[in-house]
Amino acid sequence: MTTPAILPERGLADRLTALFWRHPRLLLAVLLTPPLLWLGVVYLGSLAALLLQSFYSIDEFSGMVKEEFTLKTYAELFRAQNLDIILRTLLMSAAVTLGCALIAFPIAYYAARFARGKWKAVFYLGVMLPLWSSYLVKVYAWKLILAKEGIITWAAEGVGLSMILNAILAIPGIGGNSLSTSPLGTFIVFVYVWLPYMILPMQASLERVPTSMLEASADLGASRAQTFRTVILPLAMPGVIAGSIFTFSLTMGDYIIPQIVGTSARFIGLAVYQLQGTAGNIPLAAAFAVVPIVIMLVYLTIAKRKGAFDAL
């Protein structure tokens, strides 16, 4: 008895394997159709609906949405109080992104370059742990930490640093009655909440920079600072950009934190929430919602121009 050259078919799995082997594109189509449908219909569809809404306007007398094309709603964005919101959100997002980047870099650098074995696990745990607990719980916890009669004030009094805290709170624009009711407090909570989203992509991109690259730079005479500026930063830039896209867009869209910590001054997310939820002004809410999309597009274009993706 000799073994046959062709093995017998063992049922459905083998038949499918044969089908996909003969038509490789079929498998791709089967795998990709559901997510593409989801993306196309649900995501892009709702985005288109949003865009459409923003070109409608609200009738000033009845409050009814007028389904006629107009740019009036967009013009409303340029009203002083609405520009305030956009500018405030933009500044906060930029500050939060910068703050996250500054804090995340040493952590990510350590994790990518030095942490090994057990310490790597500790690092991931440390970074991910805050993500395990509910977002609301974290924000409420921060409200208590930052409160006028909270831990920070108490600690500052304990070590005699109340003067410094009060001096910081007296700075117009970022200070306030307490950390919890100041823009600075909002900033701190934003940075805390979004930090993991900056650390992880940064760490991933730093890990991909070979050690020899840093050695080559030092070998050619570069100081640590020069190496950082001309080699590490450009090579880690895709990670920094990826992280900043997270922190920037998450800050721009968030509507919970500014409700709980801060001066109650509106941010874009909160304005959208309020305009569509309680005021029924869906066109203006849609127009507001388009703003972060435009800002992100501008941001990515600038980043691309500046060569942020060259190392990809």
């Binding site: 307490s178 109650s264 309680t278």
Partner: protein, 387 residues
Amino acid sequence: MTNRSVKIAATSALALITGLGPAAAQMTEVGAGEGALSIVAWAGYIERGETDPAFDWVTKFEEASGCKVSVKTANTSDEMVALMNEGGFDLVTASGDASLRLIAGGRVQEINKDLIPSWSTIDPRLQDAPWHTVDGKHYGVPYMWGPNVLMYNTEVFKEPPTSWNVVFEEMTLSDGQSNKGRVQAYDGPIHVADAAQYLMFHKPELGITSPYELNEDQYKAALDLLRGQRELVSRYWHDAFIQIDDFKNEGVVASGSWPFQVNLLKAGGAPVASTIPQEGATGWADTTMLHVDSEHPNCAYMWFEHQLASNLQSDLSVWFGANPSVPAACTDGRGMQTAEGCTANGLDDFDKIRFWTTPVADCSQGEDTCVPYYRWVSDYIGVIGGR
């Protein structure tokens, strides 16, 4: 119960629809129950002992009537209107803004109050209230109401403040420190009405007759007052529990509030009390209404009667820190409420309270003369933003 916050803030410009839809023929008698009843309600309004075993006013109703109650919780007035427009529900606990929209849209039917034996026990001040009575026809049964009170810290205020000026104007409080940074205001456009009410008392020359009907000049004066208030307020409140926390940890000593927070803070031992100052206060009132196409009208009428039972009203008012629509519930001892409790919740201040209605352009001052609600929304955003 935090949804109360959303609720008060919630409205829609759709409320501006006027004119009445055709009303279905009203019921003439209550027959046997249909075995089921579905209610759209605010969270905490229809309790069956699941949140707190002591507060249950559904189980016994089900046993007695055979009507199985199902509750759909809604978070905003918009959602309530949308659910009622969709249909499939029997009852809704609508607030002042939603109720008129539902009547105008023809989504609820006229109530035959003769079929509700306890109707006469309802607070006479509520029996013909304009948010459920149109052209002399009743479209619902009053459920509960409450004022927006001035909550204050009793250690800072030895005597109850007599005026809302403690939250509107900078002043030195009895502890020698400024009120700046130590007062709060409600984070919702409705707060413009509070400012208008304050001006109504202090600047009669503006000629404000209702805080919900403001012409351009009156509106501008109210906004100016609010801009001054922005300097005093370090954070506006919209969530009852955040406000409670701010009174505990943030050094806040005075703010417009609801009896709900006052009761909770007092129960926690905090030195607070509430008052309705000389200018009066704004407030809210909710009504149970019957869907025009209700499939279980008999059960609904049984519920109408049930909801007016003084023990239910009594427990409900304790649970929510509000006022029963049946005043006997405060005194007859059938529930947990007491006369003192009702007084604390503002029962005696009905006349000082201006119940919330949605500002519309066509008002008693004339057609298209009042500032409509959508502008309240955008301008109040500006005020809070420091503009």
